[in-house]
């Protein structure tokens, strides 16, 4: 739920949310995902977000009253969603077989190092999707360069 | 180019004059974005004095500029009408405060022309030596500050180390380092002090290796070349049309130096070259000034070998009343042609003194040189014209 008017403040709080997600990854002993989340999301995508915010003049948008009246509806929906998710977690503890599967933390030493696991699966089992994804990214980059080039 | 070629270039110039910032004819920008007018205010680390520059930008490119001067105007020319000829001499030092000796030389020779006298040979030679030392000092200051603007932090200190030696010589000679008032109308007041020749010779002998030091740091440096080559190009035709003089003109390819074209003081006795550039960009102006420092050093070495004996002051009398008339006398100051137009009405005070400052005229070409370049080049171009605001505003 977005509570701040100021877009830059919103971006800062989004950064905080992404860092928190990375923290959750770290707590689940997925350190590679933690650092990749920070490098890509926070260090890459959010930097671009912030760039665009600063290059675009947003004063006009700030003046308009956009969603003030719908604030309470949003709060209600968010609470309903939270209640539903909470119910799922609660029921998975109380009634086995219903709700989410119970996750037990594996012993620390038995987990293989996260980076190696990701690397193995990416380059052995999922090599083709990996290559296709990189070609997709390449196409996107070329498209962006072509679109941004000056028409001379 | 000789005089004839110069005048032909002036008469055949069909270009436009510099326009000031004009929002009515809005330039078609690349992205359709708004143009931006920004102000490099009078207080700025790199405008070499109180110069205000308004830049019209399209993104990062300069599409127009306007220099607003006058922040250092002190009414020097009006003051001249209320001072006697000798009383006015210290004022000319304060215009180009970086090269006071050459401004003083121009003024003294102009008044001597009015009085139809000449300084004695010994005075002329000592004047030449001091003026050439001043040329080296002025170019050293230019080099240090220009390099600093572009980001090279070290040449500044090396240049000031050499300039210190020259200023020591000045101090020993006339007691002052910066606003020297070294010459008098009719010759010199002070005799060359005892170790004058030895000091100058020692400085000149050391100086060659120092120039090599500066060149090692800058001339072949890829970043320096990248920042200065192709930046601020002024074609020969433009330079002549704007009336630009000095190293800026010579770097554009016009071989014009008043020391050779209309020799004054003792310049006709010495052999020296006039360095000329080819493209008229910042790099060429840098090379021309470096070579000029070398040539000045050679002139000094030739001069001190044979300073003629004799009087140092012509017989001009204590009260100077030049016969009514007018004179325009120009010399080659380090920054260009400094000209003195003096009208005398027969009294002890001049009727009118007008000074043609090289920096003021050279600054006109700034707009021509800066259009199409990036903002980061603006500072380099201001530096390369080598302006002193005291001279621009008088």
């Amino acid at each position: 739920m977005v509570t701040r008017r100021n877009v830059v403040h919103g971006a800062i709080f989004l950064i905080t949310a992404l860092l928190a997600t990375a923290g959750i990854f770290l707590q689940l002993r997925a350190e590679f995902l933690f650092i990749v989340q920070i490098i890509l999301y926070v260090g890459g995508i959010m930097v671009l977000f912030v760039f665009v915010i600063m290059l675009v003049n947003l004063d006009v948008a700030l003046q308009q009253i956009q969603f003030a009246r719908k604030k309470w509806v949003a709060l209600l929906v968010a609470l309903a969603l939270a209640a539903q998710v909470g119910l799922m977690f609660w029921s998975s503890g109380k009634m086995p077989g219903q709700g989410l599967p119970v996750l037990t933390a594996a012993a620390a030493a038995s987990l293989p190092p996260n980076s190696e696991t990701v690397a193995h699966s990416l380059f052995e089992s999922y090599l083709l999707p990996f290559e296709i994804a990189s070609i997709l990214l390449l196409v996107a980059m070329i498209g962006a360069v072509v679109m941004a080039k000056k028409r001379t | 180019m000789e005089l004839r070629a110069v005048s032909k270039a002036i008469s055949s110039f069909k270009g436009k004059t510099a326009l000031s910032i004009d929002t009515k004819n809005d330039h078609k920008t690349l992205l359709g974005a708004d143009e931006l007018v920004i102000n490099m205010g009078p207080q700025h680390p790199s405008t070499h004095g109180v110069l205000r520059v308004k830049l019209k930008l399209d993104g990062e490119r300069v599409i127009g500029s306007e220099c607003i001067i006058g922040y250092l105007h002190r009414g020097v020319e009006k003051i001249a009408e209320n001072r006697t000829y000798q009383q006015f001499a210290p004022y000319v030092d304060r215009m180009d405060y970086v090269a006071a000796v050459s401004s003083g030389l121009g003024y003294c020779e102009a008044v001597e022309k009015l009085l139809v006298t000449e300084a004695p040979p010994r005075a002329r030679v000592i004047r030449t030596i001091l003026t050439e030392l001043q040329r080296i000092a002025s170019h050293l200051l230019w080099l240090g500050t220009h390099a600093l603007d572009i980001g090279a932090l070290t040449p500044l200190f090396y240049c000031f180390r050499e300039r210190e030696e020259i200023l020591k010589i000045f101090e020993k000679y006339c007691g002052a380092r910066l606003t020297t008032h070294a010459f008098r109308i009719g010759g010199l007041q002070y005799e060359a002090y005892d170790t004058f020749e030895k000091d100058v010779e020692r400085f000149c002998k050391d100086f060659e290796s120092r120039i090599v030091e500066y060149e090692t740091l800058l001339t072949e440096n890829r970043i320096w070349i990248g920042r200065t080559k192709g930046v601020g190009i002024l074609t020969a035709a433009d330079a002549v049309a704007f009336g630009v003089t000095g190293p800026v003109l010579r770097a554009s390819g016009v071989k014009w130096d008043i020391r050779k074209a209309a020799p004054y003081a003792a310049y006709d006795q010495y052999k020296f070259e006039i360095p000329v550039g080819t493209t008229g960009d910042t790099y060429d102006r840098y090379l021309v000034r470096m070579e000029e420092m070398r040539q000045s050093r050679l002139i000094c070495l030739q001069a001190i070998e044979n300073i003629p004996a004799g009087p140092i002051m012509a017989k001009v009398g204590k009260v100077l009343k030049p016969p009514p008339g007018e004179v325009y006398h120009a010399i080659e100051a380090p920054k260009g042609e400094i000209g003195y137009y003096i009208v005398s009405d027969g009294t002890v005070m001049p009727y009118r003194v007008h000074i043609r400052p090289p920096s003021f005229i050279n600054l006109q070409a700034f707009d021509r040189m800066v259009r199409g370049h990036l903002v980061a080049d603006v500072v380099a171009i201001i530096g390369t014209i080598d302006i002193v605001l005291g001279e621009v505003d008088r």
Binding site: N6, V8, H9, I12, I15, E31, I35, I38, I39, V42, G43, G44, M46, V47, V50, F51, M54, L55, N114, S115 | H27, I38, M40, P45, S46, L55, E60, R61, I63, A147, L148, D149, I150, G151, A152, L153, T154, L156, F157, Y158, R161, L217, N221, I223, W224, G226, R227, G230, I233, R368, M369, R371, G372, H373, L374, V375, A376, D377, V378, V379
Partner: protein
């Protein structure tokens, strides 16, 4: 409460180390600034700070006190929260990335992270936000432009730096810092020999990453855009400054770990070169001897006394350094003490090179800077990764190890340099054809 006590019992050592580092680092950064000023002065034929304390040694303290007692000016319409947050983000990212580094086999705050190098690089990339938000919060058009330029530069050179690091990581197969140095110890060769082009690329990219000359256009005062730090004064500015010098230390440490052998002595595995173990002691004792010689020549009593004190201190340090080599009781401390010395020595050399470059060459214009990053360094580093990969495969096919790997990596480096030359030639031709400095079309009207 119980959980906190258990946590503290397990992790008290790293916590203490962390607190110590955060407490001492401002002092260290201040003295690095003093070293820079003295070096700058030396290269510029002058003396540098001499007044505050003997030979200017108390200058950083004086500067710190001045900055702390300065009035805290916030621009009128500035966003107060972001204005406060921006320097904190910069410093936080810089200090946090220090946690992943290992000065010796025993000194590591965040011990044995599996993703060591990636952690350091990733967290220091977060410092970009401090710059962008600082420029925005200053409510000044020029600061914002400077901040955006600076962050564009940082983002561009991060890619090149990352690829250069990857080239070196190909030799190790792991991101763990201790393992990287161990592999260099096992192979007996530092990665700078095996991947010199990668080292050079990382060197240039790291200069751009830390906003140092010749890439310091966003900070330069002589340019029109005065930079993101303009509106910050007093302590906030010193936080930015601290962040910049901490970034320098981080970047130097990463380069030292990956390329220069971390805490290893040169030729660490070669037994007949063990006399090199005395080099640290000799260096320090030489400094002590120099101070002793210069002491009588000092003009004042205070400075004489001070030189003698420095000589004594260096002598003591020399004794500490020689103890693990000669005394059998102190042998177990060899790795820690000498490792720490060699690491700090290499980091200092790297930082000295940074400073040397700053005083020698002018700065790049922004478009030249970006062109260097995108058109030259990134293709170069990608080609380098490719060729080193090929070289490694060839090496494992022929079962080459250690110095033998040079046989395959040198051709790879040569081919990369040829490719670099070709890129430069192509750029020059494109420049000659285009003439980006043509002013003629802008003068119409």
């Amino acid at each position: 409460m119980q959980a906190t006590m258990e946590f503290l019992k397990l992790y008290w050592a790293p916590l203490l180390c962390g607190v110590a580092v955060v407490a001492i680092l401002p002092l260290v950064a201040g003295y690095i600034v003093l070293v820079e000023r003295k070096l700058m002065a030396d290269m510029q034929a002058r003396l540098g700070p001499m007044r505050v304390g003997p030979h200017g040694l108390l200058q950083p303290i004086a500067d710190a006190v001045k900055l702390l007692i300065k009035e805290d000016i916030i621009p009128d319409n500035a966003d107060k929260m972001v204005f406060w947050l921006a320097p904190v983000l910069s410093v936080g990212a810089a200090l946090l990335s220090l946690a992943g580094l290992a000065i010796g086999p025993a000194f590591q705050i965040a011990q044995d992270i599996n993703i060591g190098i990636l952690f350091v690089v990733g967290i220091s990339a977060m410092g970009i936000f401090g710059i962008v938000l600082g420029g925005w919060a200053s409510n000044s058009h020029y600061s914002l432009m400077g901040a955006l330029r600076s962050s564009a530069q940082l983002v561009s050179y991060e890619t090149a730096a990352g690829m250069a690091l990857v080239s070196a990581l190909l030799f190790t197969g792991t991101l763990n810092i201790k393992s990287i140095v161990e592999v260099q110890s096992q192979e007996g060769i530092w990665f700078v020999m095996l991947a010199p082009v990668a080292f050079f690329t990382y060197l240039v990219a790291s200069i751009a990453e830390t906003n140092r000359a010749p890439f310091d256009l966003p900070e330069a005062e002589s340019e029109l855009v005065a930079g993101y730090m303009t509106e910050f004064s007093g302590f906030r500015w010193s936080l930015y400054f601290l962040a910049e010098y901490t970034n320098m230390i981080v970047v130097a440490s990463v380069a030292t770990t990956l390329f220069l052998g971390g805490w290893l002595r040169p030729f660490a595995g070669v037994p007949w070169l063990n006399f090199l173990d005395f080099v640290p002691t000799l260096l320090v004792v030489a400094v002590a001897a120099y101070c002793l010689v210069r002491a009588p020549k000092q003009p004042t009593r205070v400075q004489q006394f001070f030189m003698l004190a420095v000589a004594g201190l260096c002598f003591v340090v020399g004794l500490v350094l020689v103890a693990p080599v000669v005394l059998p009781i102190a042998k177990p401390f060899y790795a820690g003490i000498h490792g720490g010395f060699w690491f700090i020595f290499k980091v200092s050399l790297y930082i000295y090179f940074f400073m040397w470059l700053r005083f020698t060459i002018p700065r790049y214009r922004f478009d030249q800077l970006m062109r260097l990053g995108w058109h030259f360094l990134i293709p170069l580093s990608i080609i380098n990764v490719l060729l080193i990969g090929v070289a490694l495969i060839a090496g494992s096919y022929f079962n080459l190890h250690g110095w033998g790997l040079l046989l395959v990596t040198t051709p790879a480096a040569v081919i990369t340099l040829v490719a670099a030359l070709l890129i430069l030639v192509a750029e020059k031709e494109r420049d000659a054809g285009q003439d980006p400095n043509a002013a003629s079309d802008f003068y119409a009207g």
